[in-house]
Structure formats: structure tokens, C-alpha cells
Amino acid sequence: MEHFKQKLVDIFEVSNISESDVIKDFDSWDSLTLLSLIAVVDAEYNIQINASLFEEIITIGDLLQYISKNSK
């Protein structure tokens, strides 16, 4: 998970990341960041997230929870 959090730090272009961070509130949030996020979750966990799922996944914590629930 720490390795994955480092990837998130890179994607969101921040110095650190916490579970309470709201994904869409990052300054870097745009369609490319969305694609990067989908791609990294896919590459790291082999989980395919649909863009529309980010209506439900609000925080980093939600994302981590979704991943642990759907890990194969």
C-alpha cells in the first residue's frame, strides 16, 4: 500500500497524501489525472475502475477501501 500511496503522490502532484483527502479537490484533478488513476489501479491491482465510479469514490480512503474489497 505504501508503494501505491507513492504512486498517488506522483499522480496528484502533492507532497503527501492522507485518507481524508477528497480526490476531486486536488488542484491537479482533470481528465488526464483521472485516466492516470484508472491506469495505475489497473497496473498495480488488476482492477478495472470505470470513470463513473468516481461519483461514489470520494476520498483517498474510499479508493483504498474499494481496492482492498475488489482485490483478486
Binding site: I11, E13, S28, L32, T33, L35, S36, A39, D42, Q48
Partner: protein
């Protein structure tokens, strides 16, 4: 539209790639993007290296080098060529056909059909179908299918939608009559309502090039391009591919009565890595069976991507056994299609560089 052919085979596939390599990082500063954003773009889309011609090299130059190589190697001789099908979005001239120019330069016989086809990303599918149709004639035994595109001069260096992915390249595919009974199944559709999702506005009769068409204009995403440049509406193309391509693959599978697992390789046109992995998931095909590594190594050379995919990814495998393959191309037109056929063991598969 479903099309069926038999007693025809591909006997050789040769890719001709410009030797000149351009790295994504070499051009990154041209884009209206932060370094971080550019690197994200690189990582998601799988951009890295692409092959681009040096100034003045055209589609016919690549094809002629390829054909001369095949003559020298004894893969085909001049007298055997009964037809040339040249598929490109970047012909040498508006007039005459580039296929005629190639026939003349190589001094091929005049008992021949030379045919130019204006097609892009689905150009290999359209070219194969045309070649199979020509081979239905008793006078035609061997067709040389040329897929060549030199689109790098047509892309604005300041357009991050298109410039990072566009590469140049060509291929020669020899398609000929076969005595074996193997069947070839095709499914193809076209819809010109979406014709302007991928286009070059100026240069034809509707908008001749002028000083005005050469002026760079910034779009709403900060990309700069002129009317002489290629425009790709990425979101429209992505949606089109995800909406239409799984259906055409299912259709050709159903037509061939094959289960998707019975196909050894899905050799698709190569827009970018992201789009291809989404496509593999949606069709339900193991990603290992659908190579997505052409853009990162060579760039997207329009209609030549499927043959480049063949020569890069299955050159070794074809030495071990025959393969059941599914080709699919989709894009410009809009056009989308697929072909399921066998590639026989020891089909001649080779890559050469153009310098």
C-alpha cells in the same frame, strides 16, 4: 457487412521503418502542459519512442525500398506481381496514383492493376479485403498490398493530442492464391457521419492550402495547429472505438464460429496503450493475446500499424506453428473492421530500416 473468402493467404509481411528515432521527451517542451502533466500523458498512453522520416522522404520511398529488398531476397520477383494496392492518407501526389508511380519506378510489367485507396487506421483491413477481391480473378495470382503513411509532417509539433503518437512507417504484404481450404472471415462497417473526428481540413478541393490555412490557432485545450494539420478529436475517437469495436469483433467471431479463446492473437491497429487495454477488457480477451506495444516503440503509423504489430510481435512465433489471428483496424472514415484468418507456419516476416 460480412465478407467471406477462401483459397487465399498471406505469404509475406515486411515492415519498413524510418531509422530516425524521436523520444517523447525530445518534444515535450512544445506542449502547453507542465512537465508532470506531460509525464502522466506519456505513462497512461504508453508514449516513448517513435520512428519519423527525415525531411523529404515520402510513402513511396519506403515502399520502393521494401519491394527492392523483397526482390533481392528472392521473396517475390517482378513478373509475379499482378496488382499493387497502395493504401495511404499521405500519397506522393494528388495526381497520379502513387501505386502507378511505384510500378513505373520499379519497371514492373504493364499487365497489372495499380490501385490507390485513401484509408487510414483501418487501411490494413480495407487493403486485405481489396486484395482478396482481386484474387477472385483468374488473371491475378499475387497482389502486393502496400500500407504506407508519412503523417509526421502533417501534425503540429504543438499538438499534444496527436504529435506524441504519430509515427511514420510502411509495410509490404504479399497476398496470393492458395490451394489449402482455409477460410477467411471479414466484418466491416463505415459511417461518414463521424468523418470529421479525424481529418486534415486544408489541402483538398474544399479548402486549398493558402497562407491563411498555415496560421497556427490555439484550441480550447491549449494545442496549436493550423488548417493544414491533422486534427484528431480524441474523446470522439475513444468513444467510437469503445462503442463499436467490441461489436465488430463479436460479429466476426460469430461469423467464423470460433470462440474468442480459439484465436491465438488479436493484432489490432495501435492508437495508444490505454485504449487497447480498455478494448481487450471490454471484448474479454487476455491482454497477452492483444499486443499494445507498437506506439511505445514505433509510434502509430496509421494503416501500417497492424503489419508492424505482426512483424514486431509474432515473427518468432510463426516459425513454431501456424496461428489463428484476428486483425482489427478502426478510425478515419469512420471505418471499423476485422478479419479472422490463418497465418501459416513460416510465413516470411521481416523488418527493415529506412535511412
Amino acid at each position: 457487412m460480412r465478407l467471406f473468402f477462401k483459397n487465399k493467404k498471406i505469404t509475406s509481411v515486411l515492415s519498413i521503418l524510418p531509422e530516425n528515432v524521436v523520444l517523447f521527451e525530445d518534444e515535450m517542451e512544445n506542449y502547453n502542459f507542465s512537465v508532470n502533466q506531460s509525464l502522466k500523458l506519456k505513462s497512461v498512453m504508453g508514449y516513448n519512442k517513435k520512428r519519423v522520416v527525415t525531411d523529404g522522404v515520402t510513402s513511396s520511398d519506403l515502399c520502393i525500398l521494401g519491394l527492392e529488398y523483397l526482390f533481392k531476397e528472392g521473396v517475390i520477383n517482378k513478373a509475379e506481381i499482378d496488382a499493387i494496392v497502395f493504401v495511404s492518407q499521405s500519397p506522393d501526389y494528388i495526381m497520379p496514383p502513387t501505386s502507378n508511380v511505384i510500378q513505373g519506378k520499379l519497371q514492373l510489367k504493364d499487365d497489372i492493376i495499380c490501385l490507390d485507396i485513401n484509408q487510414g487506421c483501418a487501411g490494413y483491413i480495407v487493403g486485405l479485403i481489396q486484395s482478396f477481391m482481386l484474387l477472385e480473378q483468374s488473371a491475378i495470382n499475387k497482389v502486393v498490398l502496400l500500407n504506407a503513411d508519412v503523417l509526421s509532417p502533417k501534425v503540429s509539433k504543438k499538438d499534444r493530442n496527436s504529435n506524441p503518437l504519430i509515427g511514420d512507417g510502411a509495410s509490404v504484404t504479399i497476398v496470393e492464391k492458395a490451394s489449402d481450404e482455409s477460410n477467411i472471415y471479414c466484418s466491416i462497417k463505415m459511417n461518414g457521419v463521424g468523418a470529421f473526428s479525424l481529418h486534415i481540413p486544408a489541402g483538398g478541393a474544399k479548402m486549398p492550402t493558402s497562407e491563411e490555412t498555415a496560421i497556427l490557432i490555439e484550441d480550447s485545450h491549449g494545442n496549436l495547429r493550423s488548417k493544414n494539420h491533422l486534427v484528431m478529436k480524441g474523446d470522439e475517437v475513444f468513444n467510437f472505438v469503445q462503442a463499436e469495436v467490441p461489436g465488430i469483433i463479436n460479429d466476426v467471431l460469430e461469423y467464423s464460429k470460433l470462440h474468442k479463446d480459439e484465436v491465438d492473437y488479436y493484432l489490432f491497429h495501435q492508437p495508444n496503450k490505454f485504449m487497447l487495454s480498455k478494448l481487450a477488457d471490454k471484448i474479454g480477451v487476455d491482454r497477452a493475446k492483444m499486443p499494445a506495444n507498437i506506439v511505445e516503440n514505433f509510434g502509430n503509423a496509421s494503416g501500417a500499424t497492424i503489419p508492424i504489430n505482426i512483424t514486431f510481435n509474432i515473427a518468432d512465433k510463426i516459425k513454431e506453428s501456424s496461428l489463428k489471428v484476428c486483425f482489427s483496424g478502426f478510425g478515419v472514415g469512420l471505418t471499423w473492421g476485422a478479419v479472422i484468418m490463418d497465418l501459416n507456419k513460416n510465413t516470411y516476416i521481416q523488418t527493415i530500416n529506412y535511412n
